[in-house]
Symmetry: C2
């Protein structure tokens, strides 16, 4: 698999991005990484490092789109940005997947412009992995769309189902709809309509699920609109960090607290590893006509390495084609989208 | 203050509710508690207990509305429910505040029917307290409304502001709008419109805040619609529980884990105390013409006691009148509610 990596995207680009590419190429023999961005800067990061030179190449792109830029305007103005070029390379058939830790709004817009949506899909969605007490689940949409209709939520359910089946090999994924009460009558207009559509979809729909229950690990896929999903994702991330900090502060305050902390340090590390976004690498943008993995802006080199691995798996299994086929089979018309506001 | 307590509401009613009333009456000399519900059952719970008999009285109500009943139907059919009678007592001027751990949808509907909204308020909202690394903040709306418009969010901001000023004595509360990016242009249609309204309100508006930042404790009030707020509240509750469980499991797995856990047990308890909903007692329903505190369905007697204390403070300070005055002063017309869907 040839992974096309936006070397300029993310808070610590290009250094950690190039570092992640090197780690991936060293660890996985079957991978080729194409680094896209400022050639001079990338070569400086590569120089002196040990890596299989035949499997890491550089393609020059002179411009960079920053995190704060308005997506459409930036895309129009910077025709030679690293992220744009990465998508163009995949579109031209010279690469199999795009990985970027840059501006997710820009990545989303370019995926639509350059690759297009998969046949049968109305809007793509970001599928984020959330750890739980048991096994992780897919949260979809984690932030690609802010104003969606019920039929979009049904499509997200179908895409999440394909993810859990084909990447995690869970044969009959359990699909839940994030809401504010378990009964079908609970929720807002959007979720109440989506509840009916998903109920009739043939998926293994386990109904509405409240926020307090998602971390118990009973669902394989939790469906919501991108505004809610992004808030759930980020709230969880922020809360987990604060809880660890608060516990450390409490532990430091008790007798023998320092000793105790030394004893449990390994356990805290193991917990962090299980809940660390870097372990999952990045979130696929599902519903576009190709493979695109969006990494965390704060990605470490390990996160980049893992995002490359995830991209390789999605590309090898051609998940985007499977999604298109499965969606066409179910044919969830977006005509049902009476609430679409954006 | 005369607190009217729905003795039949909540998962463990009437036993823990009556227990909470006794604890409150024993601890606070200036409180009178009126228990409303099945007189026989309540008297059985009271009998043999030590409490100031002059400050706990019972008012009989033969019917109970269960947690699963559809609110409006239940209210129509059960004219003699404990929760209905509790509101009637306050409406008649024979009590100063309602406290219930029962069906929050029913409490909300009855508050509207019996007490009515405060002058100038379009929709009431539930104000929940969330602990953070520094100081707690008010999350408003935590679930009273599922489909709201921008002007509603402005009113929630104003109500949250009154809460932080008059209950917490924070002179210039910092108000944040929960969204999916810090820039004014980030968010969905609802929050983008609300952003403008709150910016022009004269409140100390610190702008959009992402989910990952709410627990840092920089905002005094975080505003969102009730669907999102309820999901944030419950996701946080569920995640905090799971994190503690996961950490315990990891600690049990390391060498000397049991010893370490004994050492840090006090710290975990202190952390739990700081983040326990029971410490906060209950969430006020703001924007109605009277004082109403909604407790957690799983309320313990301590939670009931604290809810009574919160009710007493809100009633004594007549927060509902302050809110009405402050809202009328700012006059946020609900005509701006172009997105209102429900």
């Amino acid at each position: 698999m040839r992974i096309v990596l936006d070397a300029m995207g993310g808070d610590h680009a290009p250094s950690v991005i190039v570092e992640g590419a090197i780690e991936a190429a060293n660890e996985y023999d079957d991978l080729e990484v194409i680094l896209v961005g400022d050639e001079g800067a990338i070569q400086r990061e590569l120089s002196g490092k040990k890596y299989p030179a035949s499997r890491i190449s550089v393609r020059h792109a002179p411009e960079v789109i920053g995190m704060g830029e308005p997506p459409l305007q930036a895309i129009r103005r910077k025709k030679n940005s690293s992220i744009r070029k990465a998508f163009d390379i995949v579109k031209a058939g010279e690469g199999d997947a795009v990985v970027t830790a840059g501006h997710s709004g820009v990545a989303m817009a370019l995926a639509l412009i350059v690759l297009g949506t998969s046949e049968g899909v109305d809007r793509p969605a970001i599928a984020a992995i959330m750890p739980t007490f048991k096994k992780p689940f897919v949260l979809i949409d984690a932030g690609a769309n802010v104003d969606t209709g019920p039929a979009n939520l049904l499509q997200f359910a179908l895409m999440g189902n394909s993810y859990a089946r084909h990447i995690w090999n869970r044969e009959y994924p359990k699909i839940a709809l994030l809401s504010i009460g378990e009964e079908a009558t609970k929720g807002n207009e959007l979720t109440k309509e989506a509840f009916k559509l998903i109920s009739d979809s043939g998926l293994d729909f386990i109904g509405n699920m409240e926020g307090k229950d998602i971390f118990l690990g009973e669902a394989d896929v939790v469906v919501c609109d991108g505004f809610v999903g992004n808030i759930v994702l980020k709230t969880s991330e922020g809360l987990a960090e604060v809880i660890i900090k608060m516990l450390k502060r409490e532990i430091a305050g008790v007798t023998m607290g320092r000793v105790a902390y030394l004893l449990i340090k390994g356990a805290v590390r193991a917990f962090k590893k299980k809940t660390d976004y870097a372990e999952y690498g990045g979130a696929p943008l599902l519903g576009v006509n190709g493979t695109c993995i969006i990494g965390h802006g704060r990605s470490t080199s390990k996160a980049v390495k893992n995002a490359i691995k995830v991209a390789s798996e999605f590309a090898r299994k051609k998940v985007y084609q499977i999604i298109s086929e499965e969606i066409k089979k179910t044919n969830p018309s977006v005509k049902g989208n009476t609430l679409a506001a954006g």
